[in-house]
């Protein structure tokens, strides 16, 4: 199909593609090259390549920033939060797509409204709430907050389940299958692609979130990757190579995971859009 286009259009299209790709790749190359240089080399020129690449810089940054601990903290929080969200939101999305009840539209709009509330505005009241519950400086405070991030997931699951014919559940009901089993045994397996998409999107959001861990997880031993990386930037002001190495450490692993699962995300989104 691409080949059928006029040559000029094809050339122009490639220029666009290469330009955008370069804008993404070049900063990464710059980061890697900067990390591997000595401070002296960095001061001389931002473009030069490292004379003798110092790969130990990553080990240094990893150890000094205690990234093992940071990653364990971040992963723990993210996994629990995403698992919970998938469970609640698939259920709610299914209810909104397949059941008829009073105020259904209103409930849906209620769930969507949260997307428009600036998170900064609820910071103080939320902090107050968590303090009252005695949850400051516990993982529970951030995880419960993430459990409230339902709008996008419900929106997506509702659209997805709407694409699944209701007759399927009806047939099962006639057979005498309980509602609970219809949801668990029939609907959820069908929603696997949506689960994958929502799961990965939320994984990225929650893993990268900065604000809530910042206000709730004050104890150093509870810190997440983003928080720890920020603290690292401040305490190593003049050590540009270490600073950049920490940036790479904070972005590398999520990036690799993303690249591995890219096809699932894409397929999930396409399927989601199809069903919707």
């Amino acid at each position: 199909m691409f080949k059928s286009l006029p040559l000029l259009v094809r050339i122009f299209a490639y220029i666009l593609l290469v330009a955008l790709a370069a804008s993404v790749v070049l900063p990464f190359l710059w980061m890697i090259s900067t990390a591997l240089k000595t401070t002296g080399e960095i001061n001389q020129s931002p473009f030069s390549l490292p004379a003798t690449p110092n790969f130990w810089v990553f080990v240094d940054a990893w150890v000094q920033g205690d990234f093992t601990k940071l990653y364990l903290n971040s992963l723990g929080i993210t996994v629990v939060a995403v698992a919970g969200l998938l469970a609640f939101c698939s259920a709610a999305g299914y209810a909104l797509a397949h059941f008829e009840f009073r105020a259904k539209e209103a409930v849906f709009i209620y769930f969507l409204a949260g997307m428009m509330i600036p998170p900064q505005v609820i910071m103080v009241p939320s902090f107050k709430l968590m303090a009252t519950l005695g949850l400051i400086n516990t993982y529970a405070a951030v995880i419960l907050t993430y459990f409230a991030w339902v709008p996008f997931a419900i929106f997506f699951f509702r659209a997805y389940f709407s694409g699944i014919p209701k007759e399927l559940a009806e047939a099962a009901r006639v057979e005498g299958v309980s509602e609970w089993n219809i949801f668990i045994r029939i609907m959820l397996p069908l929603a696997k692609p949506a689960m994958a998409t929502v799961g990965i999107v939320y994984f990225i959001w929650i893993f990268n979130d900065f604000m809530w861990p910042l206000i709730y997880l004050n104890d150093q031993s509870l810190r997440t990757v983003t928080l720890g990386m920020m603290a690292f930037q401040g305490s190593h002001a003049a050590l540009m190579n270490l600073k950049v190495a920490a940036l790479i450490i904070a972005t590398g692993p999520p990036l690799v995971i993303f690249l591995i699962f890219r096809r699932q995300i894409q397929n999930g989104l396409i399927e989601g859009a199809l069903k919707a």
């Binding site: 001061n43 902090f127 303090a131 910042l214 004050n218 928080l227 603290a231 401040g234 003049a238």
Partner: protein
């Protein structure tokens, strides 16, 4: 079955917890201590002090919860507003502490503090006294008006470090560097507080202690009035001097877009010969492995009435009125001011003590000792302006204005006029 088993296990654990808790309650007082000292070495020192205190006082258990700096203010405000502050609270000395005192949430510690005051360096009263009453004990002493320089770079240009003792000497040295193609002063004002400190130190050099203290405190204390106005030539002159540095091209080119860390990095990496920050710069130099660092007092402007005066900053340990045991809390506060704790603090923290113990035998970084010398040599000390002026006027008219003066959005006179207007309105609004 398994559901039951886990339920039973949970219940048992709950009961065990209750018993453990109840048992402990019967014998000891637990005091919750909150602070923003969450990163080493500051957190290490306080935690050690808490351990020492708990070991020496079997009946009292102090439990320290530390908060990340930026979140602490939110945490503490919320806790106070909800009526559940900790038993002992660390707050920034000065205006920050006075807000809580003003709303009646801190215990009046005047009588308790009296004997401790005798150990204290003079000139620090404005940090813990509000409306004639004392509200806590000081912890640590940071000196603000310090100029760091790179002695190797100075030598290369043939500049005598002694010439940095005056503002004119500092400017002449800067010009010499500029002529040699080196931008002299590492400065990044993205987060505004750095420019605030420059303005603060210049102003502090121009005014007498009384003028300086009063022009700030008039927004906090109804009984204090200031003869000097922000729109008067003396105050406006501070803005002019500050702007002249930028106009001369002495600030590193990212002065409006870089943050302080980046600017510090330029200095520690040997790319700019000057950098001004407080005594905490000594610890920063260590963390960054910087070699060629020396320091002197921030150069006072010509005809400074008190050229050796110091700008300081400290933390305050206070006792909220809702504390569970005021006597135990006071005991802890007194312990914090004791010589062993202060020695520990100074030796491990790259910071000074507000208490006058004989420190000649303590292990101290030479640069820190030099700062201690500046302090001993000072005619007097005053807090940072942001500690003695209400945030409602300070934020807009010093923090934001210092950027606006550099960008040209405000002329020095306009900055002064706006500031004065805010102060006048604020006093009128409060009926002072």
């Amino acid at each position: 079955m398994s559901k039951f088993r886990s339920l039973r296990a949970l219940t048992l654990a709950g009961v065990a917890l209750l018993i453990a808790h109840g048992g402990a309650m019967a014998q000891t007082v637990t005091l919750n201590l909150w602070s923003e000292l969450s990163a080493p070495p500051e957190s290490t020192v306080l935690n050690k002090a808490v351990e020492m205190f708990n070991a020496a006082n079997p009946g009292i258990v102090v439990k320290h919860t530390s908060f990340e700096n930026t979140a602490y203010e939110t945490a503490l405000r919320t806790a106070f507003a909800g009526g559940t502050p900790p038993d002992i609270a660390e707050v920034n000395a000065g205006s920050n502490a006075f807000q809580y005192a003003q709303s009646g949430q801190l215990m009046d510690l005047t009588d308790f503090v009296k004997p401790i005051e005798e150990k204290l360096r003079p000139g620090l009263e404005t940090m813990y006294q509000y409306d004639g009453k004392s509200y806590g004990v000081l912890w640590g002493l940071k000196v603000g008006n310090v100029l760091y320089y790179n002695p190797v770079m100075l030598k290369e240009q043939g500049i005598d470090p002694a010439s940095l003792a005056t503002w004119e000497g500092f400017m002449a040295a800067s010009q010499k560097f500029l002529d040699a193609g080196i931008t002299p002063i590492a400065f990044g004002d993205r987060d505004q507080w750095t420019g605030n400190h420059y303005f603060n130190h210049i102003l502090h050099g121009i005014l007498t202690k009384d003028e300086y203290d009063h022009i700030g405190l008039q927004t906090l204390d109804p009984s204090i009035t200031s003869a000097l106005k922000w729109s008067d030539p003396k105050a406006v002159h501070a803005w002019e001097v500050y702007k002249a540095v930028a106009d001369a091209g002495y600030f590193t080119p990212g002065y409006l877009s870089d943050d302080n860390d980046t600017a510090a990095g330029l200095f520690f990496a040997g790319r700019a010969p000057f950098y001004s920050t407080g005594s905490w710069g000594v610890g920063m130099a260590k963390a960054n492995g910087a070699q060629n660092v020396a320091l002197t007092l921030f150069p006072p402007v010509a005809d400074s009435p008190e050229p050796t005066a110091i700008v300081t900053n400290s933390l305050l340990f206070t006792i909220p009125t809702t504390t569970s045991d005021a006597d135990a809390a006071k005991k802890f506060l007194e312990f914090l001011t004791s010589e062993p704790v202060q020695k520990l603090y100074v030796e491990e923290n790259f910071d000074l003590s507000p208490y006058q113990y004989d420190s000649s035998g303590w292990t101290m970084d030479p640069m820190l000792r030099q700062i201690a010398g500046l302090l001993d040599n000072a005619q007097n000390a005053s807090p940072f302006l942001d500690m003695i002026e209400d945030v409602k006027c300070m934020q807009e008219n010093v923090n934001e204005a210092n950027v606006a003066v550099l960008t040209g959005d405000l002329s020095p006179q306009e900055a002064g006029d706006m500031h004065q207007e805010c102060v006048t309105d604020l006093r009128a609004e409060r009926g002072w």
